[in-house]
Every structure is written in structure tokens, then in C-alpha cells.
């Protein structure tokens, strides 16, 4: 009997464990709204509970290769960026959107009012709320500067030269150290935040994009889609986008070393930005496919497995009959901002 | 003085191979006056060019004054020509942008220099009867006058050998005989003359006479 009881208990434990593992790789039930900026000049709005899709138009379309990247013209036909959004920071009910032409626009989610806050930089990649909550930091991929933008005054407060073509910024928990990703140099620069001086760098080695700190401030995640080949002349689009390894690189914040490289090449995904759930268990990954869609993927922060992929461009474009004329017909998105706990009305 | 040993020169004329000079051998003594007669296209002018170092034979050797000229590097051959050989061409061979006096002095641009050269050039022009044409340009001269300037020029660098191709072609009889007298005088002074001509009376005045036919050379009686 005892033996039988033991076997039943063992089976129950095994069943529970299996169930737990299975549950861990199931899509979580999330609550919130994600806003993902795209080259089309609008933000994709995703209800994280229903995965329904909407959009907010900010500006007209523009390609990433238009204008300047790291001081170089890649697209000879388009010397100036046309438009397009690349990142948005959500402060209260205001989205502060950084554009590919270096302007900042504010969109109020309640009033739906769009305000042009003027020329701040040259060509923005990331739009990241700063540690004190007073500023947004826009990273410029044309000149490698980080622009401090004061939310209250709605004007530029500082300009910090960092690299050649920067995209993302993140801070340690104490706010004393900042990390800035330089796409073309394939490095994450480490800055003493008080003096704004570079004190080191973490080499990733390929073309990288955005960086995000996990809520525990123990891991720094860096998207490394690798869709450009970094040459002496600067970034050159590879003949087949993402021909190399497409990865999410995880850095240990304490010892500032790479601890993992999560390869998503086989998933045909080219991750550009990340958003951790407040509990740090899940990561929303905005990914390009360089096909006819871009994807929002949900990744388990522990197992690094993708548990869900949602179309966030094609679904809408198909319905509206939109035909993309830039970026070789591929809808390209980038920066993600999430309003956790509030679904769109 | 001049020695040709089994010299041959062929040209391609379309698909045809023309033997302009075919196994020619000859010996010319210093101070000799040699005439070569023959029909047009018989190879006379080519023979002169081979002797003067203007075109390289396919085979054989050309020796002037003990120097195998075709063994010299090109610059040395040019210097050799400038010092030892001069030409009187069949055509009016003056540089149109230079005066008669300058044309006579032209060979000195590539070698010989000295204070008396201009005076010597004047005396040469006087010798050929063009004392009053020293500053004239070739376009102002008749064909015969141009030929006389070319003859005067042939002596400016006091060459050991003068190779002349129809030298009196454009001249009237009187001038022709004057020129021949000059040639004879210079020949007597030691200059070797090899003259190619159609003119049988001119050829008859030579000490050694040759006939050229289909690239082959033979002594004329």
C-alpha cells in the first residue's frame, strides 16, 4: 500500500511538474497596450489581452536608409529622411515619438491631439524615459549623440556625444552608470552618468539595435538583428537581410559580460526592441521579418523560448489594402512602449 | 666603312609577305660614292633605311665604321645616327614651323653644339644657292629650293655617311649638276655617299654602282 501511495505521489509530482513546464511555455495572459513605432509614420497599437490591432498616425512614411547613418549616406537617391517613426516613450498618457527626421512629436492618448515639439536631433532611433522620470533620452543614429529632452519644458536639455550611430540607452539601478548601444560599432558604451564620460564598452561584434534593462536590473538585453554588414565605410545593407545570426544578446550587468546569445535566426525574426513585463517574467520583442510583416513576439525571460507571435503590420495593411513602397516592400517597425495594465479603449 | 651581311627585311602587305630586302650583302669603303638603281618597289629605300638604322632587319647585320648598329640600344643608335649618318629623303623633308636656317640646324638640336654652327649653316645654305632665303619658311620655297635646304642640312653635322634617296629629283639640270659637284667635293673630303636613284646619268657618276631588283642587290656593270 505504502508502495502504491508512493507511486501515486510520484506520478502526481511528475504530472504537476510537466504541467508547470507546459504552462511556462504557454502564452501568458497579459494586460496592457503596446505601441510599436514603424517606418510607415504610424504606431501599431496592440491590445495585449485580445491581440487586437489599431494604429496612430504620427507622420508620413520614411525609410531608415534615407538620410544619414553614422555620418554616411547609404541611400544616394534620398539625401534627406522622409519621415517615419522609430521610437516612442510613454509618459502618463502622452506618447513622445522620435522621428527619423530628428523631430519630436507628442500624442495624447486621451485627447488624440498631436503636437510638434520641434527639431531636436537629426535621426532618432530610441526614445527612452530617463531614470528620474523628468526626461526622455533620444538616441541619434545619424550623429551618435544622445539628446536629453525635458518633458516639462518640452525642449532639449543636453546633448551627449557618445558614438557613431546610437540607438538605445539604459541605466543601472542606482542611476550612476548608463549603457548606450552603438549600432554600427556593434558596441555598448558604458558611461559615468554624472560626468557623461565613456568609461568602457561591451563588444557585441555585430550590428545591434536597442538595449533594455530587466526590472531586477540584473540583465541588460540587447537586440542584435545583424541585418547590416558593418564595414569600414559604415553599415552596408547585406544583400539578404539578416544573412548572419540574428540574436538577442544578454549581458550580466554586474560583471558587464555577455552571458547568453539567444539565437532567433531560425525563427526568421530580426529583433529590434524589447519590453519586459513588470514582473520580469516575459519579454515582448518587436521583430522585423523583412518579408510582408513585422511581428510582436512574446518570449519567456527565463527559458528564452518564444511562446507567441502576433502579426502587427500585415493584418492591418491587408485589410486596408495598403501597398508598401519603401524598404523593398517590407513593413519595418522598431521601438516599443507599453502601457501595462491598461487596454486600449 | 659600311658592311651589310645577308640582310633581309620583309613586310606584311595584307596576307602577303613582301621581301623588300632579301639576303643583301655589300661592302662600301670610306669615301666611296655608291649608286643604287632599280624600279619602284624594288627595295632601294628600305635598303637605305636598314643601313641608316631607321628600320631593323629580320636577319643579317649592318656595320658602320666597325659598329654593329643594330646591337646598340635605341638611344645609342639615335646618337650614332646623329653623329655619323645623315639622310636626304625623297620627299620634301623640312619642318614647316622652322626657317630654312633653323631647318639646316635641326640635327644639332640632338647632338653637336658649338659657336660656329650657325655660321656653318649659313655657308651651307649659301653653298646650295639659298643665301637670300635663310629666314624664309619652307612654305615660301619651291620644291627644288626645299630639296636644296634638305641637302644643306645633310652636311651640318659633318656625317661620315650620307644616305640620299633621289636627292636631285626636284632639281633642274643646272642645279642638279651643281649639287653633284658638291657631293663629289664632299666625297673627296672623305664622306661616303650612297645614293638611290632612277636617274641613270646620276648613277653613272658613282664609283660603285648597284642594281636592285625584287629585294636582291647586284653590282651593275
Amino acid at each position: 500500500m505504502k508502495k502504491m501511495m508512493f507511486c501515486i505521489a510520484l506520478a502526481a509530482v511528475a504530472l504537476m511538474a510537466t504541467a508547470m513546464i507546459a504552462a511556462a511555455d504557454d502564452a501568458p495572459l497579459l494586460k496592457g497596450t503596446a505601441y510599436v513605432a514603424g517606418h510607415g509614420g504610424h504606431l501599431a497599437v496592440i491590445n495585449l489581452s485580445t491581440w487586437d490591432l489599431d494604429r496612430i498616425v504620427i507622420t508620413h512614411a520614411g525609410s531608415e536608409t534615407e538620410g544619414v547613418i553614422a555620418g554616411l549616406h547609404l541611400d544616394a537617391a534620398h539625401k534627406k529622411p522622409g519621415g517615419g517613426t522609430h521610437g516612442a516613450a510613454l509618459i502618463g498618457r502622452d506618447l513622445f515619438v522620435g522621428l527619423l527626421d530628428g523631430r519630436v512629436k507628442k500624442y495624447n492618448l486621451d485627447t488624440q491631439k498631436l503636437t510638434d515639439l520641434g527639431q531636436v536631433g537629426e535621426k532618432f532611433c530610441g526614445a527612452i524615459p530617463g531614470p528620474g522620470g523628468k526626461d526622455i533620452y533620444y538616441e541619434d543614429m545619424a550623429n551618435g549623440n544622445v539628446y536629453q529632452f525635458n518633458i516639462k519644458k518640452e525642449k532639449k536639455a543636453d546633448v551627449i556625444p557618445v558614438g557613431k550611430s546610437v540607438c538605445g540607452i539604459a541605466w543601472t539601478k542606482d542611476g550612476k552608470t548608463a549603457f548606450v548601444s552603438d549600432m554600427v560599432q556593434g558596441k555598448i558604451f558604458i558611461l559615468d552618468w554624472k560626468t557623461k564620460k565613456k568609461i568602457g564598452a561591451i563588444k557585441i561584434g555585430t550590428f545591434i539595435h536597442q538595449i533594455r534593462m530587466n526590472p531586477a536590473h540584473t540583465e541588460l538585453w540587447c537586440t542584435a538583428p545583424n541585418e547590416f554588414v558593418v564595414t569600414a565605410k559604415g553599415p552596408q545593407p547585406s544583400s539578404v537581410a539578416g544573412k548572419g545570426k540574428s540574436q538577442i544578446v544578454i549581458i550580466d550587468v554586474k560583471n558587464r559580460k555577455i552571458k547568453d546569445r539567444v539565437d532567433v535566426t531560425d525563427d526568421q525574426l530580426f529583433p529590434h526592441d524589447l519590453a519586459f513585463t513588470p514582473d520580469g517574467k516575459w519579454v515582448l520583442v518587436s521583430c522585423r521579418t523583412y518579408s510582408d510583416d513585422s511581428i510582436l513576439a512574446v518570449m519567456n525571460a527565463k527559458t528564452h523560448k518564444i511562446v507567441k507571435e502576433v502579426s502587427i503590420c500585415k493584418r492591418c495593411h491587408q485589410e486596408a489594402g495598403v501597398k508598401i513602397k519603401i524598404d523593398n516592400g517590407s513593413p519595418l517597425l522598431c521601438g516599443i512602449a507599453v502601457d501595462w495594465g491598461k487596454n486600449p479603449e | 666603312m659600311i658592311s651589310l651581311r645577308d640582310v633581309s627585311k620583309t613586310y606584311k602587305d595584307g596576307d602577303q609577305l613582301v621581301h623588300a630586302v632579301d639576303g643583301v650583302s655589300m661592302e662600301v669603303e670610306a669615301g666611296d660614292f655608291v649608286s643604287v638603281v632599280g624600279h619602284s618597289g624594288s627595295g632601294k629605300t628600305t635598303l637605305l633605311s636598314l643601313m641608316g638604322g631607321l628600320t631593323k632587319p629580320q636577319s643579317g647585320s649592318v656595320t658602320i665604321g666597325g659598329t654593329e648598329i643594330w646591337s646598340l640600344p635605341d638611344d645609342d643608335l639615335s646618337a650614332f645616327r646623329n653623329k655619323n649618318v645623315n639622310f636626304i629623303f625623297q620627299f620634301a623633308s623640312l619642318v614647316p614651323t622652322l626657317t630654312c636656317l633653323e631647318n639646316v640646324l635641326l640635327p644639332t638640336a640632338f647632338g653637336k653644339s658649338g659657336d660656329g654652327l650657325v655660321e656653318y649653316a649659313r655657308s651651307l645654305l649659301e653653298m646650295v644657292g639659298l643665301k637670300d632665303k635663310m629666314q624664309s619658311y619652307p612654305s615660301r620655297l619651291s620644291g627644288g629650293q626645299q630639296r636644296r635646304v634638305a641637302i644643306a642640312r645633310a652636311f651640318i653635322n659633318s656625317p661620315k655617311v650620307i644616305l640620299a634617296d633621289e636627292p636631285t629629283g626636284d632639281l633642274d639640270e643646272a642645279t642638279e649638276s651643281e649639287i653633284m659637284e658638291i657631293f663629289k667635293k664632299k666625297c673627296a673630303e672623305g664622306t661616303t655617299f650612297i645614293i638611290v636613284t632612277h636617274n641613270s646619268s646620276l648613277a653613272a657618276e658613282a664609283k660603285s654602282r648597284y642594281r636592285m631588283s625584287a629585294g636582291r642587290l647586284e653590282r651593275a656593270s
Binding site: A157 | N82, T97, L106
Partner: protein
């Protein structure tokens, strides 16, 4: 009579076909003229800006936000203009991170109604106790302290040291004049102390026909020197952010504005110059190939008379070099005359300051353009010259017949 030589033959050959010679010379002149005049203008404007910016001595200029474009225009085109902001801005600017020194200035346009003074001059009042912009020149000029009755005049102000100048009824002793900068903002200005400026304004109501409306709690600009380790651009952003109602302009940004204005013109001129250069290169190449073809018999003749291959090569190269250097000289002369004659129009149309480069640089430019022209000729004639040199004498004579 001189010995016949390569140069003599080359000159005679050049004279042979006058039309052809003139065509080559003119086409090269067009290239060198464009190159020379465009570079001269660019250098002149850059020098003027550099001299002006150096004279300004400030890394950053702080002006009222609403008058930013007026201030930029005043700096670049030098039109006297007045704008004011509260003098407390100075203290606020001094508090901003990265600011090492800050000094105020006040601008007053001279009265157009003046009967016995000088009109259309910008009077700049500065504070000798904090100044780092004007004072360094004063010691150069007078060697003594600058007092409230003294004035220093820019190059375009019609006066000289030892004379007096009268503005708004106030008489000033001219203690020095400034060397020309090309920036009218400085050349067309006269410098007095801040106190003298306020006093003059206060007394203008009774002493002059026109009253100056500026009070001691107003200033026009704050000149800033930045600390080591800070870029002027960064400090300018910080000042614009920290101090309400002002705009801070990095001096180097003013220079880049002018550079931007010029770059389009320069690019246009260079494109035209480049097209003409390629055409000239082709023209010279084709012409010299024709020349070699035409002169085959002569080439054979000269070779028969002892000319070496090297001589034949050098002869053609010398001809090309002579033609193109003549074109180069004609071009720089023409370009220089055009720039000199139309300088004022250029300055007006482009709204840029202008200061002739140093004689050394002008000479270097002249030589450079002529050298480029000559090299163009040599490059174009290289191939035809090598063909000419390679010809076998007898073949050349035969083909030329």
C-alpha cells in the same frame, strides 16, 4: 641665334595651328578659372568667419530667443540690429554647467538723424571688468585702461586713432582702430564701455534728436567661454534649456551655417568645373592624338636625324604642358578679375562676410591651379606622347608620306 632645343621646337609647334591652340588654352582656362575663383571665394569667406569668430573670442553667444535669426543675420551679414533681454540672464548663464566665463554686451545702432556723427554704425557696449572678448585687443592698441570716454572703431568706421567720434551727443576719443575681419558685425562696429553706453542712452533724451531706449537692466547678448571638456554645442543646449527666453548659439554653428550656404554654390561650381575638366582632358587627348597622326613623317624625320624616343616623348609633353599652363595662367587671371569685380555682389547675394586670404595663400592657390592645369595637359598627352615615342623612324616616315 640660340641653339635649337626642345622648348624652341615646342613653341614653334604650338604656333602652328592657332585655332586649335586657342581652343585648348580656353578650355583649360575655364577649368582653372573655375577652380581658382571657387576656392578663392571659399577661402575668403572661411578666413573672414575664422578671423571674426576668433576676434569675437566667444564659444557661445546668448541672445533673446525671439531675436535668434536677427542675431545670426547680424553676425553673418553684419547688418546693425538692436535686441535686448533682461540683464539677470547674465547671472543665470553663469550658473549653467560648462560655462567658464560670461560677459554682457549691449548693442545700440548709431542715430540716422546724427548731423555731425557717424551713422549706420553698431555701438557695442562691453563690460571691461568681465570682458574676455574686446579687452585682449585693447592692450594691443592702447596699452592702457579703457575708460568711459574711449572708443575703439572697426575697420569700416570712417575715423582714425586720436580723433573723436560723437554718438547721441556724447563725444568719444578714438584710442584705436581694428584690423579688418571681413565680418561687418565687427568691422562696422565701435566699442565703448557698458557704463558709457547706458550713460549715453540716459542722456540721449536731452542731448540727441533720437532717444535710445535701453536701460541698465537690459543687455543685448552674453558672450560665453566654455570650460575644458565641454563642447560649445553642448553648453549652448544647456544654456538654452536652463535660461528661459534665450537662445544660445555656438560660434562654430554660425560658421557651419555659412559653410552650408557656400557648400551648394561650391558643389555647383565644382560640378561645372569637373565637367569642363573632363571635356578638356578628352579634348587635349584627342587633339594630341591627331597631332601625332599628322606629324608622323616629321616624327620619323627627327628620329632619323638623331632625336631619341625620350626627346620625342618630352616634345609632345612639353607642348601640352605649355598650352595648359598658359590656360592655367589665363584662367586664374580671369577668375581673379571676376571675383575681384563681383566681390560685392557675391557678398550681397550670399549674405556672407568676405576677407581676402593672405598673400601666401593666394600665391599657393595661383600656383596650385596652374599646376593642376599643367598636370591635366601632361596627363592627357601621356598616351599620344608614348605612341609618338614608340614609332619606328622608317615606319613613321612611310606612313606619313
Amino acid at each position: 641665334m640660340k641653339k635649337l632645343g626642345l622648348n624652341h621646337l615646342a613653341v614653334r609647334n604650338i604656333r602652328r595651328k592657332l585655332f586649335r591652340t586657342v581652343s585648348i588654352v580656353l578650355s583649360v582656362a575655364a577649368v582653372s578659372g573655375t577652380l581658382f575663383s571657387a576656392t578663392l571665394v571659399i577661402y575668403s569667406v572661411r578666413r573672414s568667419i575664422a578671423v571674426g569668430a576668433g576676434r569675437l573670442g566667444a564659444d557661445v553667444l546668448v541672445v533673446p530667443a525671439q531675436d535668434e535669426s536677427k542675431a545670426r543675420d547680424a553676425l553673418i551679414s553684419g547688418q546693425p540690429s538692436e535686441y535686448y533681454m533682461p540683464s539677470k540672464v547674465l547671472d543665470e548663464v553663469r550658473q549653467v554647467e560648462g560655462v567658464e566665463k560670461a560677459t554682457p554686451q549691449v548693442f545700440i545702432k548709431s542715430s540716422p538723424l546724427s548731423c555731425c556723427g557717424v551713422s549706420n554704425v553698431l555701438l557695442i557696449g562691453f563690460d571691461p571688468s568681465t570682458d574676455f572678448s574686446v579687452t585682449p585687443w585693447l592692450t594691443d592698441f592702447s596699452g592702457k585702461n579703457f575708460n568711459n570716454n574711449d572708443i575703439i572703431a572697426g575697420d569700416e568706421v570712417p575715423t582714425m586713432t586720436g580723433r573723436t567720434l560723437k554718438f547721441y551727443g556724447q563725444e568719444f576719443n578714438v584710442v584705436g582702430t581694428l584690423a579688418r575681419t571681413g565680418m561687418r558685425y565687427l568691422d562696422n562696429s565701435a566699442f565703448i564701455t557698458l557704463n558709457a553706453a547706458y550713460k549715453m542712452a540716459a542722456q540721449s533724451g536731452t542731448k540727441a534728436l533720437k532717444k535710445v531706449n535701453v536701460t541698465p537692466d537690459e543687455i543685448s547678448t552674453v558672450l560665453v567661454k566654455v570650460k575644458d571638456g565641454y563642447t560649445p554645442q553642448r553648453v549652448a543646449v544647456k544654456i538654452s534649456f536652463a535660461v528661459d527666453g534665450v537662445k544660445a548659439i555656438a560660434s562654430s554653428d554660425v560658421i557651419s551655417t555659412v559653410k552650408d550656404q557656400l557648400s551648394k554654390l561650391f558643389a555647383y561650381l565644382l560640378t561645372v568645373g569637373g565637367i569642363v575638366w573632363v571635356m578638356a582632358l578628352l579634348l587635349i587627348g584627342v587633339v594630341f592624338s591627331m597631332i601625332v597622326n599628322e606629324r608622323q613623317r616629321e616624327i620619323g624625320l627627327l628620329r632619323a636625324m638623331g632625336a631619341t624616343k625620350g626627346f620625342m616623348f618630352r616634345l609632345l609633353i612639353t607642348e601640352a604642358a605649355m598650352l595648359t599652363s598658359a590656360g592655367g595662367i589665363l584662367g586664374v587671371a580671369g577668375g581673379g578679375i571676376v571675383v575681384y569685380s563681383f566681390k560685392n555682389l557675391l557678398v550681397k547675394e550670399l549674405s556672407v562676410p568676405y576677407l581676402w586670404p593672405s598673400p601666401g595663400l593666394i600665391i599657393a592657390l595661383l600656383v596650385g591651379c596652374i599646376v593642376v592645369s599643367t598636370i591635366t595637359g601632361i596627363a592627357a598627352a601621356l598616351y599620344p606622347a608614348s605612341i609618338s615615342a614608340r614609332m619606328e623612324p622608317y615606319e613613321a616616315i612611310r606612313k606619313g608620306e
